[in-house]
């Protein structure tokens, strides 16, 4: 009896890996043929996306994804790391009990609500203050920066707390202030873990769909400034999936293949750093 239980539990434990494999299998099966047919180079580096004319170049979307992700990291990472250090080292205990769940709650807000806020408030603000269409890289970056905050803060706090206490105590015993101990000792020691958090946050930003569709404007051109509107890989899939058929639909799955590769690379790199840190 016990042996059977053990076997069943093992099967259950493998379920995540099965699902991951099934996702890869089905998306590749749908997407890879069209990549091969139109040529990998043409697909990845082509700048024209005209599904009805059979032109499937996703370079503008790759650039779009990279731009909004980069913007989100520039805005979000300093804020997130500062939050993490404050919560892990400086904040009074009672505040931590309120602040930490509050930041975690940011991850619970539906992404469509973020998108809605971007459309109703942020995009008009950018349009009137800075010009451009408003729905832009900048707007998407700002919203994504807030959305990836909880991921980076959570992992960073863990990374800071995983640094052996003796490191900090040693620094304090040598007469360092709390800040000097944090900046000179904890920060270098926690850096790989924090980096893991940043990369996971990056994965979130690359993969975010609904908020980005609503606020990035979705133009299929290559952007020239942060105020230009862009379309990301995720947005490209979600916008056209509703009505795409045949080769068009396959091209959307191929976009999914590229996205899947991106995310897997980020995951593997993050796990590598995390293993060094924890």
């Amino acid at each position: 009896m016990d042996r059977w239980v053990s076997r069943l539990l093992f099967l259950a434990a493998c379920s995540s890996t099965f699902v991951l494999a099934a996702i890869a299998l089905f998306i590749f099966k749908e997407g890879v043929p069209i990549m091969v047919k139109s040529g990998l180079g043409h697909f990845l580096l082509g700048t024209a996306w005209a599904p009805l004319e059979g032109q499937f170049g996703i370079l503008p979307f790759i650039i779009g994804s990279l731009c909004v992700t980069f913007g989100a990291l520039v805005l979000g990472v300093p804020l997130a790391v500062a939050c993490a250090f404050y919560l892990a080292e400086f904040a009074p205990r009672r505040w931590v009990n309120v602040l930490k769940p509050a930041i975690e709650l940011l991850a619970g807000i539906p992404s469509v609500v973020y998108g809605f806020l971007g459309v109703m408030w942020l995009a008009p603000l950018i349009r009137t203050q800075l010009g451009g269409p408003g729905l832009s890289i900048l707007a998407a970056s700002c919203v994504l920066a807030v959305m990836i905050l909880p991921t980076i803060v959570g992992v960073s706090i863990d990374a800071i707390q995983a640094v052996p206490r003796t490191y900090k105590e040693g620094a304090l015993a040598l007469g360092a202030t709390q800040w000097q101990a944090a900046w000179r000792v904890l920060w270098p020691a926690a850096r790989p873990g924090i980096l893991a958090g940043v990369i996971l946050g990056m994965g979130r930003a690359v993969g975010e769909t609904m908020a980005v569709i609503m606020i990035s404007g979705n133009a299929t051109r290559i952007p020239h400034s942060a105020l230009d509107s862009v379309r990301t890989l995720t947005a490209n899939i979600a916008i056209e999936m509703g009505y795409a058929v045949g080769a068009h639909r396959e091209a959307l799955f191929a976009t999914g293949v590229v996205l899947f590769f991106f995310i897997m690379i980020l995951n593997v790199v993050a796990l590598r750093f995390a293993r060094r840190a924890f």
Binding site: P110, V112, I213, V268
Partner: protein, 280 residues
């Protein structure tokens, strides 16, 4: 002039606290913006009427029912599977190459973006298995998405159970399965429930997965084979297609309130468990 270390520390502390304050202000702003715009439109009638005129009029009852049914399917699959996974990892094995592989799978699955789950669910459940756009397809796809959350939280909860619980039960002659079900699981239950509640929260807030697997029918769903829209999808369609700002705000308010209740519930459950631990 050299700035004294204590001054530097003072400045640094203020800056770090400001960063935290900014995050909290962002949260309050998002929640406040939605509630201020939507709460006054949320009436009993809004919650209990069918969707009329594509959302321009009427309420959101079908969306609420659709959400509940889909969450029910997703949790019904993901919770047993996830908890069993966690039991295996925490109780039935030692760290080895195999568990490393399993963990790698879980971590990678956790990082897969929701749109990919949407594509996967669409091609497998909707097209190949022929479920069509239905609550069943949506529930299955959501289950795949929330599996890692449930596994991780449940494993953490199991690992936080003190050794003695296992040793005592085992020394009384219990088999491993008896140890787990009679001694370890009851103790870890609040933590496991936290993970399940978080999974419910993620399912409710999700849009990209659901819209491609469950469709967006406005009618009241009668079975799991019907297409249905969740509150999040309903809100997305109202907001994006500019159907009705008023109803969009109201739906968002209901959505945010649900998420707030769920998160506060999950957190207080976890908090209570932690406090119980310290006394024990």
């Amino acid at each position: 002039m050299r700035i004294s270390p204590l001054t530097t520390q003072g400045i640094a502390k203020v800056l770090l606290a400001l960063a935290c304050a900014a995050a909290v202000v962002a949260l309050i702003f998002v929640v406040g913006f939605v509630l201020a715009g939507g709460l006054r439109h949320v009436t009993w009638a809004f919650l209990t009427q069918p969707i009329l005129d594509m959302g321009r009029a009427g309420g959101i009852l079908p969306a609420i029912v659709g959400t509940l049914m889909m969450v029910f399917v997703a949790i019904g699959i993901a919770a047993p599977l996830g908890v069993a996974s966690a039991i295996y990892l925490a109780e039935y094995t030692v760290e080895s190459r195999i568990t490393q592989g399993i963990r790698f799978g879980i971590n990678c699955l956790a990082g897969v973006p929701s749109i990919i789950f949407g594509l996967f669910g669409f091609i497998l459940f909707v097209v190949i298995l022929g479920f069509g756009w239905s609550i069943l397809s949506g529930g299955f796809s959501l289950a795949a998405m929330i599996l890692p959350t449930i596994i991780r939280t449940a494993e953490e909860a199991l690992r936080s159970v003190p050794r003695q619980y296992r040793d005592v039960a085992a020394s009384l002659g219990a088999t491993r399965w008896q140890v787990v079900t009679k001694s370890v699981l009851p103790y870890a239950l609040p933590g496991i429930l936290t993970g399940i509640i978080l999974g419910i929260g993620r399912s409710i807030e999700e849009t990209a997965v659901v819209i491609f697997t469950a469709g967006s029918a406005v009618q009241m769903p009668h079975s799991v084979f019907d297409s249905a829209r969740t509150m999040a999808v309903h809100f997305y369609i109202l907001a994006r297609e500019g159907v009705s700002n008023e109803n969009a705000y109201a739906t968002a308010a209901v959505l945010i309130c649900t998420i707030l209740v769920i998160n506060v519930g999950a957190y207080s459950l976890m908090h209570r468990m932690m406090r119980g631990r310290r006394v024990a």
